[in-house]
Amino acid sequence: MHKRIKTKFLGVEIESPLVLPAGVMDMSYSGLNFACKNGAGIVTSKSLTLQPRSGHKSPVVAEFAGGMLNCMGLCNPGISEGLIEIDQFKERSLIPVIVSVFATNKDDFLSLTKQVNDCHGDFLELNLSCPNVFDEFGIPLAASKEEVFKIVKAVKELSQKPVIAKLSPNVYNIVEIALAAQKAGADALCMINTVGPGMAIDAKMVKPVLFNKFGGLSGPCIKPIALKMVYQSYSAVEIPIIGMGGVTYGIDAVEMLMAGASVIGVGTAVYYRGMEVFEKINEEMIEFMDENGYETIADIPKLKKLEM
């Protein structure tokens, strides 16, 4: 049915260019499967850490006009339990899985990489950019091109799976970070993580809404930032980009492709449009292709690259 939106990502055939990103509906094998049944082409695990994490105390989400704040705080059952879920998913599905991992230093990333090597996941994503654990871990690694280079390079030497670097939008010069990841051997980039962080206040009770006080922005309001950063990075690097940030409708996905993304992440839109959002966006992309005379997704043109 969707032959026209079939594509490839890092050599693997996928039924849809839509990616379930880390942190959304990915606590269990069945959650990943639910996303696939609804039309996702690739799914990503929660960012797994060496030890289990409960994440931040709730409230962990706050809605506002144009988007959402979240501070889940990297809750996950730990790498060992998390990989069991991934293997259980792979027993039931042919859909590729990105195993996302989070650490704060090279050694921990290497320990995680070693364990991911032994699972049935397809790709390894390094979450270098969680904005919601500042109190615990400080500025994300993705803010420093030296750190990004050092970690990606070390992981690449050990990983038996293609390595994806998940980058932060909260940097002055995204291009130098993207180039550092590519130079270190990253096979792909994933951007953008949530923006900010920001905050929300309850005026009646005079309290921050989020217990963590601050949380990353997602949803439609961050799409312009995502498009800009994907476009800037696409102009500078040769490796494929998973573009995400505010993609809610088919036209957003098309714009993300035009900005230079190879595949497109859809996260917060699951809240706005339900789990069926993947199927809806798939169909809306095909509608756009019909209206504009593009036979396959590969025919959708990219913007002319920025001159660097």
Binding site: M27, S30, F34, V60, M72, N76, E81, Y271, M275
Partner: protein
């Protein structure tokens, strides 16, 4: 879309030593089985089933079990709390002969359901069980509705010792029900399920919830991946029968499986 509202507690009703009903003057527009998320911004935002709801007010009935509910019990009428909702699926409102099976502090949402069923012309039988007399809630309220009502305690405080599943089994043997509804501990529903093979039913489930808007994935149920905050918390027979984790395990805040 289920925006947060910060409202005053209008009234607090002591049901038992450890169970209280909190009343809010707010047009929530909830259906039976749905829930709200409630916080005081002091750490923790928890799901609570609606135990009654009109156009002007709604009720939640809370058991004191941990830090969060202990803090809630220290609040007074007039204090602010912040809520989001209503969330999730609701019970099917049947019009036939129906049986409601409640256990412990899981029973209150069945009170809201019983009223809607009666309005719809259903013949309602309620069986309510708890560990002790002190844990039985809403006995008088159900009786006032004029439904067929029976209760029982595990320790036999009211004479006979047993569970609401025992009462349900007897009711099912005695008459033909068109629909059965259950809310209470998961193991109660697990014990009830084998007796409902020829009957239509819906169960109200509980899982650890964080976002309540279908994003975080903490409340997904294996192997379907359905979210208890969106596709649940009320699940119909055809879904319940497919759940491999039902009565076996649930997930904690980290997502780790915890066996029952």
């Amino acid at each position: 879309m289920n925006k947060r509202v910060t409202i005053k507690i209008a009234e607090i009703i002591e049901e038992t030593k450890d169970i209280r009903t909190f009343v809010f003057q707010h047009n929530l527009g909830a259906k039976p089985g749905q829930f709200i998320m409630l916080t005081d911004f002091e750490g923790g935002e928890k799901p609570f089933s609606i135990s009654d709801c009109t156009e002007t007010e709604f009720f939640i009935t809370v058991k004191r079990i941990g830090d969060f509910t202990t803090r809630l019990f220290q609040k007074n009428a007039g204090d602010f709390v912040s809520i989001r909702g209503p969330f999730g699926s609701s019970f099917f409102i049947s019009s036939g002969n129906v049986l409601l099976v409640g256990g412990g502090y899981g029973t209150p949402p069945l009170y809201f359901l019983a009223q809607e069923l009666l309005k719809n012309g259903a013949k309602v039988t309620v069986v309510n069980g708890a560990k002790t007399k002190e844990d039985l809630v809403f006995c008088d309220k159900f009786k006032e509705l004029g439904v067929e009502y029976q209760n029982i305690t595990q320790l036999g405080c009211l004479g006979r010792a047993g569970t609401s599943v025992d009462l349900a089994k007897e009711a099912i043997t005695g008459q033909k029900f068109d629909y059965v509804y259950a809310a209470g501990p998961e193991m109660m529903m697990k014990a009830l399920q084998p007796h409902l093979q020829d009957l239509e039913y819906e169960f109200l489930f509980e899982r650890y919830m964080k976002c309540a808007i279908g994003i975080c994935g903490n409340c997904t149920m294996d192997p379907l991946g359905i979210r208890l905050c969106v596709e649940g918390p009320v699940l119909p027979k055809k879904l319940v029968e497919q759940l491999t984790e039902f009565g076996k395990y649930h997930r904690d805040a980290t997502g780790k499986r915890i066996e029952y």
